[in-house]
Amino acid sequence: MSPSPVGPYLPLAVTLLVSGLMAAALPVLAHFLGPRRASKVKSESFECGSVSEGSARQRFAVKFYVVALLFIVFDIETVFLYPWAVNFKALGWFGYAEVAAFAATLLVGLAYVWKKGALEWET
C-alpha cells in the first residue's frame, strides 16, 4: 500500500492552522490587553518620522502611467526577441523576416510616441 498522499502535507496544514489562529488571536488580545492613550500627534498619519503635510489624495501625473505602459511594450519586445536570438540559426531567414516585421511594427509605435512627446519628461 502506498503512503497516504496527505502525509507530506500534514506539517503544512498544521502551520496554516497555527498561523491562522495567531492572526485571529493577536488583534483580539491586543484589543483587551493593550492600553490606549490617544493624543493628537499619535493619530496623525505616520510618514517615516517626518511631519506629514498636505492631503494624501493627490492626483498623479499621467506621464507615470505612460512611461509604465511604454516600458511594458518594449519589455515584451525583449521577451520575444530573446527566444529568437537563442534559436537564431535554426529559425533562419524565416525567423529573421518574422522578427523584422514584429520590430518594424514596434518601430512605428516608437516613432509615434516619440513624436507625440510621450517620452518628454519635462513638460
Binding site: 534559436n87 535554426a90 529559425l91 533562419g92 524565416f94 511594427t105 512605428v108 509605435g109 516613432a111 509615434y112 513624436k115 507625440k116
Partner: protein, 514 residues
C-alpha cells in the same frame, strides 16, 4: 526542432487584417508627421483601407474552407463574409465620423487607427480556431473599443461609459479565460477541432467540470454580444460613446463576437448538443423578450437603439440555436435528442445568421448615422441630444433623412420590403425547420412588440409638427453618402436578396462541417 512551414498561401487569408493594420500604422504616423491644417486625409486613408480590406475578403470568399497557420485559424466563406460585413460597417462608420469629428474639432489619426485595429481584430476573430488566438483577437477589438468610447473625453458621460465598458469587458474576458483554462484542463488542447472528442468523453466522466467550462465561455461571449442577462453595460456604454463609435459597436463588434460565438459552439456544441442548444435557446428567449420590453419605454433614441441592439442579439442567438436541430416543438419541449454532427440541417441557419448580420449592420449604421447628424455639438452630452422630440417634423425639415430613417426603422422592425424583414424571415425559418417552433413564435411576438418603438419614430418624423425654433441640422457630404448608401442597401437587399442569399447557401460554408 521543426520549423513552422509558412508560405505566402498562409498570409493570403489574413490579408484583410494586414491591410487594416497597415492602414492603422499609416494613420498613426501621419498623425504625428503630417501636421497640416486640414485633417480630411485621415478619414480618406481609413476609408480606403476598409474598402480595400473588404474587397480582398470578397475576392477570396469563394475559396474552399481550409486551415491556416497550422490550424490556429481557418479560412472559409463564413469568415470571409464576416470580414466583408465588418469592413462594410467600418466604411459607413468612417464616413459618419468624418463630419462628426470635424464639428467637434476632434479629427485625430488615433481615432481612425483604433477603429482599423479593432476591425483587424474582428476579421481575425472570425477566423480563429484556437482559444488563445481567439482571446487575443477578442482583446484587440475590445481594447480598441474601450479607448474609442472615451475618445471625446470632455464631460462625465464618456468617462463613465468607458469605465463601465472597460470594467465589465475585463470581467467578461476573465470569464472567457477561466472557461478556456478549464476547457484546456479537460481536453488537453486549445484547438477547437481537437477539443470535440475529449470534451464529449468529459461530458460523461466529468460532467460538472466540462459544463462549467462551456458555461463560462458562453458567458464571456454573451457579455460581448450583450445578451440578457449579461446586457447591463450596453445602454450606458452605447449612450456615452460618440455616436459613430456606438454604430461601430452595434455593427462591427457585434458581428465579430457572433462569428466567434458560432465558431466556438459549432465545434464545442458537438460534444453535447442538448446542453448547448438548451442554453442558447434560453439566452435567445431572454434576450429577444428582454431587449424589446426594455426598449419600449425609452424616449432617448440612443438608449432605445441600444436596447434594440440587445433585442437583435436575441434574434441572432435564435439563429445560432437553430444550428442544432431540435426534434421537439416549443421551448419546454426543446430537449433535443440529436447526437452527432450538427451540420445536418445547418446550412439554412448559417444563411440566416450571416444575412441577419449584414441586415443589422446596414440598418444600424444608418440609424445611428441619422442620430449623429441630429445631435449637435452645442448640446454637449445632455440627454436631450437624443430625445424623441428631435425627430418631430423631420419629414418637412429634411425629407431625405426622414425617408432614410423610416427605411432603417422599418428594417430594424422587420417590415418588408427591407433587408431586416428578409433577415428575420431567414432566421425564423431556420429556427422552425430545426424544430424551434416555440422560440420562433416568441421571436415573432417580441419583434411585433418592437415595431411599436421603431414606428413611433416614424410617427414623430411624419406626423408631428416641426418645432418652431431650433437650428436646422447641417448637411455634410460624407454623412449624406453614408446615409444614402445604407438606405439604398436596406431597400435593395430587401427587394432583391437573391445574389447574397445564394452566396450564403453555398456548400462548405463553414470549416469542418463537410
Amino acid at each position: 526542432m521543426t520549423l513552422p512551414d509558412l508560405t505566402a498561401a498562409d498570409l493570403q487569408p489574413v490579408l484583410p487584417a494586414l491591410v487594416l493594420a497597415a492602414g492603422a500604422s499609416v494613420l498613426l504616423l501621419s498623425e504625428v508627421f503630417l501636421t497640416t491644417a486640414s485633417r480630411s486625409h485621415l478619414a480618406l486613408i481609413a476609408l480606403g483601407s476598409s474598402v480595400l480590406a473588404g474587397g480582398v475578403a470578397l475576392a477570396t470568399a469563394f475559396e474552399p474552407a481550409h486551415a491556416v497557420f497550422q490550424g490556429l485559424a481557418v479560412q472559409d466563406p463564413f469568415s470571409s463574409f464576416v470580414t466583408v460585413v465588418v469592413c462594410l460597417g467600418l466604411a459607413g462608420v468612417v464616413l459618419l465620423s468624418a463630419d462628426f469629428l470635424k464639428q467637434r474639432q476632434a479629427e485625430r489619426g488615433e481615432y481612425y487607427a483604433l477603429m482599423l485595429f479593432a476591425a483587424a481584430g474582428m476579421s481575425l476573430l472570425a477566423m480563429s480556431a484556437e482559444l488563445i488566438t481567439l482571446f487575443i483577437n477578442l482583446e484587440v477589438l475590445s481594447v480598441s473599443t474601450y479607448a474609442l468610447t472615451a475618445f471625446l473625453r470632455r464631460g462625465p458621460r464618456p468617462a463613465e461609459a468607458a469605465f463601465k465598458y472597460f470594467i465589465l469587458g475585463a470581467f467578461s474576458a476573465a470569464l472567457f479565460l477561466y472557461g478556456s483554462a478549464l476547457l484546456y484542463g479537460v481536453t488537453g488542447t486549445t484547438r477547437l477541432a481537437d477539443m470535440v472528442g475529449p470534451l464529449r468523453t468529459a461530458m460523461h466522466t466529468q460532467p460538472w467540470l466540462a459544463t462549467c467550462a462551456l458555461a463560462l465561455v458562453a458567458a464571456g461571449f454573451a457579455f460581448k454580444v450583450a445578451a440578457v442577462p449579461f446586457h447591463m453595460w450596453a445602454p450606458d456604454v452605447y449612450e456615452g460613446a460618440p455616436t459613430p463609435v456606438t454604430a461601430l459597436m452595434s455593427a462591427g463588434v457585434k458581428a465579430a463576437a457572433f462569428a466567434g460565438l458560432v465558431r466556438v459552439f459549432l465545434f464545442l456544441g458537438r460534444a453535447d448538443p442538448e446542453v448547448v442548444a438548451l442554453a442558447l435557446s434560453a439566452l435567445a428567449v431572454l434576450t429577444m423578450v428582454g431587449g424589446n420590453l426594455l426598449a419600449l419605454p425609452q424616449r432617448n433614441v440612443k438608449r432605445m437603439l441600444a436596447y434594440s441592439s440587445i433585442a437583435h442579439a436575441g434574434y441572432l442567438l435564435l439563429g445560432v440555436a437553430a444550428l442544432f436541430p431540435h426534434p421537439g416543438t416549443g421551448v419546454l419541449a426543446a430537449t433535443p435528442l440529436m447526437l452527432g454532427s450538427p451540420a445536418v440541417n445547418s446550412a439554412d441557419a448559417y444563411k440566416g445568421i450571416l444575412f441577419y448580420l449584414l441586415a443589422y449592420t446596414v440598418s444600424s449604421v444608418g440609424a445611428f448615422g441619422v442620430l449623429s447628424v441630429l445631435e449637435r455639438h452645442a448640446d454637449g452630452d445632455g440627454a436631450t441630444a437624443w430625445d424623441l422630440d428631435r425627430f418631430s417634423g423631420l419629414a418637412q425639415r429634411r425629407p431625405g433623412w426622414a425617408v432614410a430613417m423610416a427605411a432603417f426603422m422599418l428594417s430594424l422592425a422587420g417590415i418588408p420590403p427591407t433587408v431586416g424583414f428578409m433577415g428575420k424571415l431567414l432566421v425564423f425559418r431556420a429556427a422552425v425547420d430545426s424544430g424551434l417552433l416555440g422560440l420562433a413564435i416568441i421571436g415573432v411576438l417580441a419583434s411585433a412588440a418592437g415595431a411599436y418603438y421603431y414606428l413611433r419614430i416614424v410617427v414623430y418624423m411624419f406626423m408631428r409638427p416641426a418645432p418652431a425654433e431650433g437650428v436646422l441640422p447641417e448637411k455634410y457630404w460624407a454623412t449624406e453618402l453614408a446615409l444614402v448608401a445604407s438606405a439604398v442597401a436596406v431597400v435593395a437587399l430587401g427587394v432583391l436578396p437573391g445574389r447574397v442569399a445564394d452566396w450564403l447557401s453555398q456548400s462548405g460554408m463553414f470549416f469542418g462541417t463537410r
